[in-house]
């Protein structure tokens, strides 16, 4: 068996860059859809609010409320959806 080809990631001109880490994706998602109040963010508080925000998002999407960025939560964040926030603010 040949070694698996190392996938080369190319930046395509005109592409809306979406190559981001899972954490960046999750953070952007929770902010965009109103789960994290983007105001008053600080270090320690941010950890608590991210876990709490994840639980709120998991409840909204009918997922298991682990407060963790698990596989099913990450997949849900990648699915096409409506742009209206889930948490009105």
């Amino acid at each position: 068996w040949s070694l698996p080809l190392k996938s080369v990631f190319v930046t395509f001109p005109g592409d809306i860059i979406k190559n981001m880490t899972d954490t960046e994706l999750a953070d952007g998602y929770l902010k965009k859809f109103g789960y994290i109040d983007t105001l008053h963010r600080s270090g320690f508080q941010s950890m608590v609010s991210t876990s709490k925000a994840l639980k709120r998002m998991q409840r909204q999407m009918g997922l298991e409320e682990t407060g963790e960025l698990d596989k099913s939560t990450l997949e849900a964040m990648k699915r096409p959806r409506c742009g209206v926030p889930d948490v009105a603010n």
């Binding site: 996938s7 080369v8 990631f9 190319v10 395509f12 001109p13 005109g14 592409d15 809306i16 979406k18 190559n19 859809f33 409840r59 909204q60 999407m61 009918g62 849900a76 990648k78 699915r79 096409p80 959806r81 409506c82 742009g83 209206v84 889930d86 009105a88």
Partner: protein, 570 residues
Amino acid sequence: YKTFAGDLKWDHQEVTYRVISYTPDMETSLVDDAFARAFKVWSDVTPLTFTRLFDGTADIMISFGKTDHGDPYPFDGKDGLLAHAYPPGEGLQGDAHFDDDEYWTLGTGPAVKTRYGNADGAMCNFPFTFEGKSYTTCTTDGRSDNLPWCSTTADYSRDKTFGFCPSELLYTFGGNADGAECVLPFVFMGEEYDSCTTEGRSDGYRWCATTSNFDNDKKFGFCPSRETAVIGGNSEGEPCHFPFVFLGKEYDSCTSEGRGDGKLWCSTTDSYDDDNKWGFCPDQGYSLFLVAAHEFGHALGLDHSNIREALMYPMYSYVKDFSLHEDDVEGIQYLYGRRAGPDPTPPQPNTPSPTSYPDPKTDPTDGPTDPTTTTRPVDPSKDACKLTKFDTITVIGGELHFFNDGQYWKMSSGTEGGLKGPFSISERWSALPAVIDSAFENLLTRKLYFFSGTRFWVYTGKSVLGPRGIEKLGLPDSVQKVEGALQRGKGKVLLFSGENYWRLDVKSQKIDKGYPRYTDAVFGGVPNDAHDVFHYQGHIYFCRDRFYWRMNSRRQVDRVGYVKYDLLKC
């Protein structure tokens, strides 16, 4: 379900909408139909009605756009955010925006509606066979004019039904050229273009000139996308080029190589390495109907639901046979209540007490000797009481309207009674000609239909559609004018001309089968050459010259009288 803070909702039931711009992915009539069906999802379970406007400001303004499209919430390229909408209210509130970096379909791959050909606008049937070969896209095979076409059945050789596919060589949409096709090559800013271009625009839409020189003529339209065109990328509208070379390797089909998100893409030239021209490959696309039904839920006041099967759930999932979840129904009825039983029937006004009227045997010109008691401050030449015949009489907004030669009078039934006018037709309905042969108000949609000669106009509030030929409704060429219109129950209207009448289905805008019928065969005892027929206060009136024949709901003529004295109250 959830509603927005403060239970934001419309304070009226007749909600209006207007389509401001279109996507190149689907023929405009398919887009219109998808939106109409999406609104029907909500009007089926509430008292709400949705009326489409063609200009001016509607409650719900619908548009397509890409990335930064003019509000503070930019879209994000293909996939991800599909659309968004604002809760009810003024201005931007209530509007719906759709991301045009998406591939809009009916949810199951290219939705290609044909034009011309012999299939009467049927959809392409993919795959189809032609001369023993199978096709999954439109083709120019078999033609020398380079126009893409498709079969509308699985086997063209057997059925020979076909139509032409969306192509800039056939038509454009939007712009200012009434859908005329592109003229290629054309000159723009001194340069020659032999295909559609996004040059000169910041919104990424492809356009072309519909004359050979845009600089001189300023005539343009937007280019429909061919169903083989790539989505997004930097080659909008171009088809994949197979084979193509990427990182030195040759590809004969779409690939996800080079990407971390697994999306299939292709090069639109023979070498991506040389030209860097690419786009995403057409896929099943997103159902414009389903996404619109969701967004219109927001525009009516619903927020997101956490019920996975509900329409208002934030994530998209294609459903073949869609029906509203009870969670959606409960939410919208919390805001607007239930749809009251069958279609609302307009309240029947109480029939007027019989009033005496001069015996029609005497010559009406003798009439009562004392001068008319009306104190209307009108120019004598414009006195309705001096007219022996009107172009048409009809009821609009529950009031009798008398039209004659560019003017109209109205008999207000309220306390201040009496005839008002004359008013200028063109001031209130600017598109109308001076002579109106007949008119009616559709009581369900409040739309006003006006007929003059072989043309008709449809007014919705201030906005007008028309003139259009009455043959579009299915009336034969022999009909030179429509002389009367009678509402008959749900969405049906009888149109009278000469000795015949036809029944129009207002919703389909088509004449029902089995017509025409002879007027006097069904409405016994009235003249069969009435020049006006209308429905008023529970009775049907047939007018000829100065007289009217009044028929009650049992189709008995219960009165013959003078328009002048009984209706105009001269």
